[in-house]
Structure formats: structure tokens, C-alpha cells
Amino acid sequence: MLEITNLQVSVGKKPILKGLSLTVKPGEVHAIMGPNGSGKSTLAHVIAGRDGYNITGGSVTFNGKDLLSLAPEERAGEGVFLAFQYPVEIPGVNNVYMLKAALNGIRKYRGEKELDAIEFLKIVKAKTKAVGIDDGLLNRPVNMGFSGGEKKRNEVFQMSVLEPHLAILDETDSGLDIDALKAVGDGVNQLRDGSRSFVVVTHYQRLLDYIVPDFVHVLAGGRIVRSGDKGLALELEERGYDWLKDEASVV
């Protein structure tokens, strides 16, 4: 499904990713862990198509398509979703209204019929219940005045409505208390259906208590320096990242 080969990315002149490779198959959950500044968020943004990164080498394909040649909205149409670390506030734009435009944008891209307001609201109602988001948030402007937890829950809610093939969670756990963390984890788990894939970017192990990964990769110095199963995450929790950093500099 997602095939990243020898990806090299720099910001300005500074290389951030230095030959990263990763394969994600349908239904798999991959956790990308690593110390601050190791390039985790860069990876998430490059997959989603954010401007400001120079791709200096390598490739990213998604279901056989060259993802790097597509605009962000086209990648969304292909089924890529990014849950943001810092969801941005958009004054005056109603949350549900935005989501309807998003869903119909994706449907249009796929050549599917756009949904009318009634059909759309049916979906929203069902998903609201499933994700357990406070429906008072739905008709507020996008993320305006939301608490940290509400913003992340809103991301999960949007994900559940848009039903992506691949969801990337960028430090979704940052700034969440335990209850919010659990709620977000529950929301994500509901979306695991055996064919949808997840890339979970996180600094801490604790999110992985709720979203149990099939694979754990450690990103350090712009490369994946170690891969394993969920046991690796626990090991990192105990030993920290330093021992791997040394390994990275050796490689």
C-alpha cells in the first residue's frame, strides 16, 4: 500500500531524512518512534504533501501511484489522511460545513456522487455517536477555542467521517491527559478494520498502550535505525533513545 524507498528530504539546506525506507501493507499499524528532531513530523508532512520540504531523493508510492507528484487534496482523494499534531483554528468556518466540503471533494476526486446535506448529516450523526465527540463542537468554527483534547478528538472524528485508506497520526498523544488519550485510542481502534492502515508517529510509548501496533520503528538521525514488534516500544520506554542514537551515528 505505502512504499517509501530511500527517501531523502531537506529543509533549506539542512538534510532531515537521509534515506528512509518503509513498507506499510493494508491493515497494518506501524508506530514511528524517535527522539525530538529525528524527522518524525517531517515524514508525516511529506507523505501528506506539505510545502516547504525539498525532496532530494527516493520515492513514495501509494497503491502504485507516485504520491510525491500529487497535490495535497489529490493525496486526500487517494485516501491519505493526516491527523495533525497542532490542528489549526479557522475562524468563521463551521466544522461540519468544512467536513462536508472535504468529503464531497474526495468523492468528486473519485468520480463518486456528491452527498447532499441530508445524506451527509446521517453520516455525521452515526459517527458522532461512534467517536463520542460532543456534538456541541460540530457546529463551532473549526477548532476555535477547542481544548487540546477536543482538537484531537475532532481529528479522529474527521478521520472517521472521511474513512481514509491510510491514516497518519502525528503525535496525536501530545498534550492529552489519560482520559483523552484513551478516548482517542478507542476512536482509532474502531477504525481498524483489517484493510485500513495506520502510521502512528509518537514520542512516547503510552499511546501504544491504546493503539497496539504491529510494527515499531525507531527513527533517529533521519533513518530508521531499528524495527521490531510492540516489545521494542516497551524497551524504548525503559532504556530511552540514547543507546539507539549511538547506533545511528555508527551506521
Binding site: D51, A101, A102, G105, L162
Partner: protein, 482 residues
Amino acid sequence: MASQPQDITDFVNRKYEAGFYTDIEQDSVAPGLNPGVIEFISKKKGEPQWMLDWRLKAYERWTKMAEPKWAHVHYPPIDLQAISYYSAPKSQDDRPKSLDEVDPELIATYEKLGIPLEEQKMLAGVAVDMVFDSVSVHTTFKEKLAEVGVIFCSFSEAVINHPELIQRYLGSVVPVSDNYFAALNSAVFTDGSFVYIPKNTRCPMELSTYFRINAMNTGQFERTLIIADSGSHVSYLEGCTAPMRDENQLHAAVVELVALDDAEIKYSTVQNWYPGDENGVGGIYNFVTKRGDCRGNNSKISWTQVETGSAITWKYPSCILKGDNSIGEFYSVALARNCQQADTGTKMVHLGRNTRSTIISKGISADRGQNAYRGLVRIAKGATNARNYTQCDSLLIGDRSGAHTFPYVEVKNSSAQIEHEASTSKISDDQLFYLRQRGIRDEDAINMIVNGFCRDVFKELPMEFAVEAQKLLSISLEGSIG
């Protein structure tokens, strides 16, 4: 144009020169402005002597005035002596014969706005038989208004049929000598709208110039007077989202509103005059004086405007809060793109006690557009417990556009409470990326952000107008991604 007053004096001195003196049978008058021309206009319209005297007085004052230069707009000098101040509507022969002869850009815009074919023809000035459905709409409309005693007619009709109201209120809000363009308008205005709402009457429908198809050709010097008698209520819509073809480059309208005790006037405008091509060539110059007088206690006047057209906009819908407990409101969205320049804002003059005013101004600048907010809040000595809230936001699209804010505050009473909030922002890459990541195309994402920015103003517009205004803004912003 520093030399203009001298030019004018010259013209005044040779006012009866041969060739200038106009024949009443004639349908238009040679370019230039002098008392003879004003007499011609007045006679042509069959006006009583008092109306002519009023015009001549305005002309007299105008000759002593100079064109204002303080606005943050730049344009080549306007030669007011090169304009013909009266011309009959264009004959059918001079008009485009069909839509095929009209600028395809204009037609494309009409189609995006979903305007029916017949209306497209009318707006584009195509020679058509104007007698279609609207006439019957027009008639039922008039009957319904007459039932409750509301007067809604062209200004010319009002001069003839309701002279007592005109004499009493005309110029009582915007005096003839108020400013250069208002004085010019007072001297040469050709037509406009007149509205009178009787005591304790709620006007049963939104009044719209759109219904008055006979007033489509009111020309460049439009005059509007709306009087809401005690305890009455009226909502008036001006303009049209469709860009109208117009022969006249200079527009200098005057709008006067009078609200007596407990009366309320809501005046909404969508202005979409031709802005010129991308280099600003051929666009309309719009120099408008709009002012409302909250003359009675507990009265309220509310201005809402969406300004997307014109090459140059010079416009400050204002409120004089004379009555105790009176309320003034100003909600504005002004868009300037390509070479458009907008200098717009409001004046809230608090004279009465417990008067309140709210100003919400949203300026959007794209491409090389320049947008200026200019506002005055004046609290007079006697205006005890006056309150004002001003919010003035600017949104920049691209890196060549500009936003300017000129707020003036004068307070002479220490009990006043004044709040001013201002912000300038660019559409952020973060917002754009967020929406695009969700699957929304880049242009749609910009529209969404801009419409969100304007929401506080759009929600003040009557429902249908608000929908149209949003659509208009989207179309106006097409291709302006910075």
C-alpha cells in the same frame, strides 16, 4: 487638479455662451457643467421652482469647493467638464443586439451566478423588450405596499407627488455643501429612490431597487432618501451581485436616511460595479456619500455593505446618533484585487445620551489591491454613557496587496466607553494545508477561509443576499491565490 476652481470660475463666467444653452427638446446636453445645464435637467424632469433653486444653490457651493485629496486612493484627474450631465437612455440601436456581442467574461460571470438568460440580457444592456414577468411582480408589489401606506417610488416621482416630504427632508442629513461630491450630486442628480414608511408601520417586505426596473438607468448621480416615521421599520436592499454594464465612469451618489422616534432602518448594499481590467483600465470610480440620521429617541440605523466592485471606492456610510438611546451599526466587507483601491469606513457621531454604535469592518486585499479602513468615532460633550465597539480586520492574500487602517476617535465626554480591536492577517499556509489535506481544492479552501473571515458581516445580510454575497466573493477571488 489644483487648477480646477479657476476652470470652474471661467465656466461660470461664460455660462451662456452659444452652444451651451440647451434646447428643452433635446435629449442630451453637451458636456460641461453650468447653471444652464442644471436648468435643463430640472426642466426636463418637470421639477418645481424650489427644486431648481435647491440645485442651483448646491451648484453655487460646489464651485467654491475643491476635490478632496485625503483618501488613500490614486487616480488620474477627473475632468468634470468633459461629462455630459443629462442624456436620455441609450436607444435600442446603440445597444448590443444579442449576448454574442457582449464581453464573454461578463457572460461567464452571469452564468456562475446562475442568472437567468432574460436577466443577463437586461444587465448587459442588450436591446430587449423590457416587458416581461417583472412588470407583474412590480405591480402586485406596489399594491401591497400601498395597502399599508408605504411610499416607494423614483425620486423624480416623489418631487412631483410628495413635495412636502422632499422639501422637509432632502439635504437635512447630507447638506448640499457637505462635501465636493455630495454638492455635485445635489446640483445634477438625475434620479434615485424615495421611501417613506408611515408611523408605526412595519414595511411588509424587503425593499429592493432590483424590483424597480424603471430605475435601472438612474445614471451616475443617484439620489436616495428614506424616511422611517416614528415606530416604523424598513429593510432596504441596494444593488445587485451581477456586474452591471455602465457607460459612466464616475459615480457620485448620495443616500440620506432619517429615522424618527423608535424607528429602525436597515440598509444593505452589494456593490459590484465594473472594477476595470487587470490593469485597472476602464473601472468605475465610486464616490458615495451615505449618511443616516437617528433623529428620534430609541431609533436605529444599520448599514451593511459588501463591496467587491469599482476601480476606486470612496465611501463612508455614517450615523448621526442624535436621539437618546439611539443605535448605529456598520458592517462591511470590502474586497480589493488587481488594481482596485478601496477607501471605506464609517463615522459614528454620538450626540444623544446612551447612544451605542458597533463597527465591524472586514477588508480583503488580493493581488495589488489596496484596502483602507477609515473610521471616525466622535462622542460629543452631551453624549453621556455613549458606547462604541469597533472591530477592524484585514486579510491579505499574496504579497503585493496592502491593508491600511485609519481610525479616528474624538471623545468629549468622560463617561464614554470605546473599544477598538484591529487585526491584520494573511491566509496562513497552515490553514490552507489543513483544508487541502482534508480533500478541499486550493481555490475552494481560500474561499472557505475568506467566507469564514467575513461571517460576522454576512450574517447581518438578509438571507438571500448573504448567499449571493458569498457566491460573489468566491467569483471575485478566482485566480487570486498568492
